[in-house]
């Protein structure tokens, strides 16, 4: 399979009155065509900033270094005019709040056809027809009528669909979805996830799913990146992450999620402490103050990323011990069975 997005050594920094803040450090990953990548992390883990940087949408005080090769072009070095030929055409992004990317004063039809007229040099009629087909594809009933409505006339779930339809207009090769269902109800979330899943299967589109919900990742993604304090702490396939987590943070996160199918007699496992503040990261490993395995080395040195196989890496000083313990536990579980 060909690689569609190759990010190497990406760094994002922000200049603030309190000094420079690193939102993302030394990010490396690749995404293959037709695959979906889940990016998990808490608020302030830098997960969104990576993709804002790739899309060239960072706030004014932000700077990026490194490279993000998308279809042979380094997006981080493209001039804006060139970038605009890629953004919204072969690379699209959808956000948590659809109203931030929809213009409330323009009809949906206008917002959709403009994209097609601009990038696909279609005629007005043709563009409108295609817009309607797109709205039908994302499951908007009476699309022919609704295409002429304003964004606020749609409900939250419908608005998210409209945004997805706009993102899909030019049949992008890669769709970046930033918490696309967080603001939605579960039944609507199920609809949207179903839709994205089908689009991936039918159009062969690659998807990046940025979310804090491990449940969404489990159902949608092939590859997973776990972020903490602006760094990648663990990467792997969805099975590796969920069945054989090796970073204490990933393990803690998985255990602290209340599960609808789980055991409910006991207290939840809670990761102690608070998420880190990017402006005042602890010394050494960012997770060290909340980690029960933290040693002096963890408090002193930033752990480097240890790669096992191509897409499997963990950034933890104590990973060898954790692997042993994991294996022991698997053995014990089998014995118990």
């Amino acid at each position: 399979m060909s690689i569609i997005l190759d990010v190497q050594n990406l760094n994002t920094r922000f200049d603030t009155p309190e000094g420079e803040v690193s939102a993302a450090n030394n990010i490396n990953f690749t995404l293959k065509k037709g695959q979906s990548l889940g990016v998990v992390g808490e608020s302030g883990s830098g997960k969104t900033q990576i993709f804002m940087a790739i899309m060239g949408l960072l706030a004014k005080n932000g700077r990026t270094s490194g490279q993000a090769i998308f279809k042979g072009q380094n997006l981080l070095e493209l001039p804006v005019a060139e970038l605009n030929k890629v953004r919204g055409v072969s690379l699209s992004m959808i956000f948590q709040d659809p109203m931030t990317s929809l213009n409330p004063y323009l009809k949906v039809s206008r917002q959709m056809t403009e994209v097609l007229i601009e990038h696909r040099s279609m005629g007005k009629k043709e563009a409108l027809e295609r817009s309607i087909r797109m709205l039908e594809l994302v499951g908007i009933p009476e699309a022919r009528k609704r295409v002429h409505m304003y964004p606020h006339e749609f409900s939250g779930g419908m608005r998210q669909r409209v945004m997805i339809a706009i993102a899909l207009l030019c049949e992008p090769d890669l769709l970046i979805a930033d918490e696309p269902t967080t603001a939605l109800d579960v039944t609507i979330q199920a609809q949207i996830l179903d839709l994205l899943h089908n689009l991936k299967e039918e159009m062969g589109m690659s998807i990046v799913m940025i979310t804090h919900d491990l449940g969404v990742i489990a159902g949608m993604c092939d590859q997973v990146i776990v972020m903490y304090g602006g760094r990648v702490v663990e990467t792997g396939t969805v099975h590796e992450i969920f069945n054989d987590a090796r970073h204490p943070y990933t393990q803690g996160l998985l255990q602290s999620m209340p599960r609808i199918d789980g055991d409910h007699s006991e207290d939840l496992y809670a990761i102690p402490g608070q998420p880190p503040n990017l402006q005042a990261l602890p010394s050494g490993c960012a997770f060290q103050p909340r980690c029960q395995l933290a040693s002096d080395q963890c408090r002193r040195e930033q752990p480097g990323s240890i790669t096992f196989v191509s897409e499997r890496s963990v950034a933890c000083h104590r990973v060898t011990e954790i692997i042993e313990l994991n294996q022991e536990e698997t053995v014990n579980r089998e014995v118990a069975l």
């Binding site: 803690g252 496992y269 809670a270 102690p272 402490g273 954790i322």
Partner: protein
């Protein structure tokens, strides 16, 4: 994954705060302190405050800064240019009075009009606005329509009628300006109150059974003070300017008392033959207005919660 033993949850929260545990109580930094620190970082605002303080001090201590009384006519020095040897630092006016002293006396009147009128508008505006905003509904509707009606009255007309009926008096200027400026203040305060009223911490206070009066004074008023202070600093120059304008039209303070507006008006008439008569009071007025505006801007930036 039983690798991580379940810690006592209470320990969990404590853990991250534990780095420097001593049982001393830690002092917090209130939003006001934060704002003050931000304000002090704003150079334009700090310089403005220093200049304004100097002008105010000069106005207060005017009688001791020069040997010339403000209303004495020096027959030998009619409309002379600035003259350091004789102690007429800013020159004299067409009646032979010392312009330096008169400018400082003008500062007294102008600054006082600014402060008093703004304070009047502050007291009426905040009370009226907070009450209307908190009550809401029909009461609010009635109160705000009344404000709208007052807004639509032509201000100059109003002042001229007052002057004609009651004669020219400095007190009337306070009344006239205060009566107009409180309208905007009331609108601002009402809007802020309505926004704060919907916040969850107000609901939390309700749910705890806190009395209405306490909610208004303990929770609402401190939280709307920010915009009120900013608006106040921007109202003062506006009032000073209006007073100057009134004086310019001849509706201001009465001779021999003077204000910057009166001085500028007199100076403008003899702009070509005695430019100093216009230049000095005009400079003082302009510098003061600049200072207030810079301070207002600085305060707005310092108090703006979005910056946090």
């Amino acid at each position: 994954m039983s690798l991580l033993a379940k810690p006592n949850d209470r320990m969990a929260a404590v853990l991250d705060q534990q780095q420097n545990v001593d049982m001393e109580e830690v002092a917090g930094r209130s939003l006001w302190q934060d704002a003050r620190i931000r304000l002090m970082r704003n150079k334009a605002a700090v310089v403005s405050m220093v200049i304004l303080a100097m002008i105010t001090m000069m106005a207060i201590f005017a009688p001791w800064l020069s040997s010339h009384p403000f209303d004495e006519v020096y027959w030998d020095f009619i409309q002379v240019a600035p003259n350091v040897a004789e102690g007429f630092w800013f020159g004299t006016d067409e009646n032979g009075r010392d312009l330096f002293v008169r400018t400082l006396y003008g500062a007294r009147v102008s600054l006082m009009v600014g402060l008093v009128a703004t304070t009047v508008s502050l007291i009426i505006g905040v009370t009226y606005g907070a009450f209307a905003g908190y009550m809401g509904g029909r009461v609010d509707n009635l109160m705000m329509r009344f404000v709208d009606i007052l807004y639509s009255l032509p201000f100059m007309f109003f002042v001229i009628i007052l002057m004609v009926i009651f004669g020219r008096h400095i007190f009337l200027i306070f009344v006239a300006l205060g009566a107009v400026e409180w309208l905007t203040m009331a609108r601002i305060v009402r809007g802020q109150t309505m926004a704060i009223k919907k916040k969850e911490f107000i609901e939390a206070a309700h749910a705890s059974g806190v009395s209405t009066a306490r909610i208004i004074f303990r929770h609402i008023v401190p939280n709307i003070l920010g915009p009120v202070i900013v608006y106040m600093t921007l109202t003062i120059p506006q009032v000073i300017l209006t007073e100057s304008f009134l004086s310019f039209l001849g509706l201001g303070v009465q001779e021999p008392l003077t204000s910057w507006g009166v001085l500028i008006s007199e100076g403008a008439k003899v702009m070509e033959s005695a430019p100093w008569m216009l230049a000095f009071p005009a400079t003082f007025l302009a510098v003061t207005l600049f200072c207030f505006n810079f301070i207002g801007d600085g305060l707005r930036d310092a108090l703006d919660p979005k910056d946090r």
